[in-house]
């Protein structure tokens, strides 16, 4: 028990500052945290909701990223500066043949350091057990510098591998699908004998028709194409020349074909599969749906928590606390939920991505995507707090005296 006479001394040091920088002591964070954990079941439901939303977003966007990369993987890995293709080409996998004379025409253009032919044609791969699989044959010059995948397993020179008669290279991810158990195994492509001479590493296809790398001659042979048929001319531009200028000149000399730089062609291929077909839109809309589910879950939880605290919030207002003090509490609740739920969700996404890394279409979740999902999750939670903020705005401090 203390004497009331000591009150004067007691309050001497609590004289209010001339400008009140309220809420600097971290008490709003404490209130926000305690508000959340006060009802543990509700908090757990909130976290599950946020994590679920984050996982859904992460997996869908990871799949979308994988989808984008696989739709243009051949273009991205070809190491070419420019591509000559049939007019109106929409995607790297869907071009019709052009004549090989285009390569010689290209070689005559100033600034072209190298021009190599490439043939892409679907074919029928026959496994030893008679089952047929659709494959996409990619034929390049025997000593091509462009259009090949450098990453081989085991570490062998791709040109040496392709020098084997009827040699083909597939990705090891599709070995089981194509019934290949070992190097040197003999298979049939469109009823022509072929021999597996190497494996690439991680070259996925989104069409589920695995890529089969071989020489231009073999590809023509396997797909019954004439000696004159190619699909693309891959161009490397000499140092000191502008890619745009060389492309313009190629286009001027060959107005009846498309000349695209690698970035354009990559983008065009991705765009086609993402938005011309329904595949990409499905993934994007699923991500948005996940976002909306998260907003609804967080919003209703925060709103319920805010309603529980309205009498106390009204007291804070009556005491002279500004609205912003209460906003801080509500927004911090949202951020805490977003951070914890987001971390849990992203962890689950990363684990799932790791587990499925060797599948044909694993979600790709690089650091930037994981970070972005985390930020979106927190923003989602803040947006979800708007309904509660509106309620806080409407608090009438007079009500505490009624």
């Amino acid at each position: 028990m203390s004497s009331v006479n000591s009150l004067g001394q007691l309050t001497e040091g609590v004289r209010r500052p001339t400008t009140a920088a309220h809420g600097q002591s971290g008490l709003t964070l404490l209130i926000a945290w305690r508000n959340l954990v006060h009802d543990r079941v509700r908090f757990a439901v909130t976290l599950v909701g946020i994590a679920f939303s984050t996982v859904l977003m992460g997996i869908q966007l990871g799949m979308l990223l994988n989808f984008m990369h696989t739709t243009s993987t051949i273009v991205d890995h070809a190491n070419a500066d420019l591509w000559i293709a049939v007019q109106g080409v929409r995607s790297v996998d869907l071009a019709t043949p052009i004549e090989e004379r285009r390569r010689f025409q290209a070689l005559s253009v100033p600034g072209v350091a190298a021009a190599e032919s490439m043939l892409l044609q679907f074919g029928s791969w026959k496994r030893n057990n008679g089952v047929r699989e659709l494959v996409l044959n990619i034929g390049v010059e025997p000593f091509a510098e462009m259009g090949l995948v450098p990453d081989m397993v085991p570490d062998v020179d791709i040109h040496d591998a392709l020098s084997v008669p009827n040699g083909v290279i597939i990705d090891r991810l599709y070995a089981d699908k194509l019934g290949v158990h070992s190097l040197g195994q003999t298979v049939e492509i469109n009823d022509h004998r072929a021999r597996v001479v190497g494996f690439t590493n991680g070259i996925r296809t989104f069409t589920q028709a695995p890529y089969v790398f071989t020489t231009l001659k073999n590809a023509r042979h396997f797909t019954n194409r004439s000696e004159n048929d190619i699909t693309y001319v891959l161009i490397r531009v000499k140092d000191g020349f502008s890619k745009e200028e060389v492309a313009r000149e190629l286009k001027r000399r060959m107005p009846d074909v498309d000349v695209l730089n690698t970035d354009e062609f990559s983008f065009k291929s991705r765009w086609y599969w993402l938005f011309t077909t329904g595949a990409g839109i499905t993934l994007v809309s699923s991500s948005l749906l996940a976002l909306m589910v998260g907003v609804v879950i967080v919003a209703q939880t925060l709103y319920a928590s805010t309603l529980d605290r309205l009498p106390e919030y009204a007291v804070v207002r009556a005491m002279g606390g500004p609205s912003s003090y209460l906003y801080k509490i509500v927004i911090k609740q949202a951020i805490i939920g977003g951070v914890i739920g987001g971390v849990v969700g992203i962890t689950i996404v990363l684990v799932l991505a790791y587990i499925s890394r060797d599948s044909s279409s694993p979600p790709q979740v690089p650091f930037w995507l994981a970070s972005s999902i985390g930020i979106v999750t927190i923003l989602m939670c803040i947006c979800a707090s708007l309904v509660s903020l509106k309620k806080v705005m409407s608090i009438d401090p007079v009500k505490v005296f009624r």
């Binding site: 004067g8 209010r16 002591s25 008490l27 207002r317 005491m319 606390g321 005296f401």
Partner: protein
């Protein structure tokens, strides 16, 4: 006679509009002075709480003026009024309205946090204030672990935390037993007399009438009777309840 800290003049207040308009205060003039306990008494619905809201800068009167330390405040906007309350008023509410998720110390710290007082200082002051109201042994208890009387003392400590010159209490004895209620009122009286604060108490509890310096009876929105009470100086402290 000292200058009034709050002076309300010609206060009329109505709720609703048109046919639903209801006038609850009629031309009320009232002054609140430092160092005195002013009780607003009257039956339920008489308008005393509305008057408290108006002189406590919580509500703008429909008509009339309110001056705080001589400055007109009746036309200020909501946020400016809030800033004034923060600087000049301490409130004790009938239902206490403590944050259930905060300890007694943390509840008192809220008032200091609103003023921007550093956490370490706020923590120390909150503990001292709680000790002052006899809750030194309940510092880390949550409201659910406190009796009603103890909750009210936390609320009083919270009201005092910012060292306000004016204390306003709404039915502070309504939920307390006789002994605890009387101790609380005596404490308010001491705060007025020893600390030279203005204390305004709204009540319809006749038991506490004798602790007031002045009693204003509100009846049907009008001042019915104005009494000056004489009594011996207070000397008690708040004890356990």
């Amino acid at each position: 006679m000292n200058q009034p800290v709050v002076a309300a003049s010609g206060i009329t207040h109505s709720f609703g509009s048109g046919a639903n308009r209801s006038t609850v205060l009629h031309d009320i003039s009232l002054e609140v002075r430092a160092g005195e306990v002013l009780m607003l008494m009257g039956p339920s619905g008489s308008g005393k709480t509305t008057l408290l809201n108006i002189i406590g800068c919580l509500l703008q009167p429909t008509e009339g003026t309110v001056r705080l330390h001589g400055q007109a405040v009746h036309q200020l906007n909501i946020e400016k009024l809030a800033a004034l309350r923060l600087q000049h008023f301490g409130f004790v509410f009938q239902s206490h309205n403590l944050f259930p998720v905060l300890t007694a110390t943390e509840n008192v710290m809220v008032a200091l946090d609103l003023l921007g007082v550093k956490r370490s200082i706020a923590h120390e002051r909150a503990r001292e204030l709680l000790a002052l109201v006899g809750l030194g042994h309940r510092l880390d208890n949550y409201p659910a672990q406190l009796s009603i009387g103890q909750k009210q003392r936390v609320a009083i400590a919270r009201a005092l935390a910012a060292d306000p010159p004016i204390l306003m209490a709404d039915e502070p004895t309504a939920s307390l037993d006789s002994e605890t209620g009387l101790k609380a009122i005596e404490f308010f009286r001491m705060l007025a007399h020893h600390q030279h604060r203005a204390v305004v108490i709204v009540t319809h509890d006749p038991r506490i009438f004798h602790f007031a310096d002045r009693v204003v009876h509100i009846e049907d929105g009008r001042i019915g009777k104005h009494e000056i009470v004489t009594h011996e100086p207070a000397s008690l402290t708040m004890g356990d309840a």
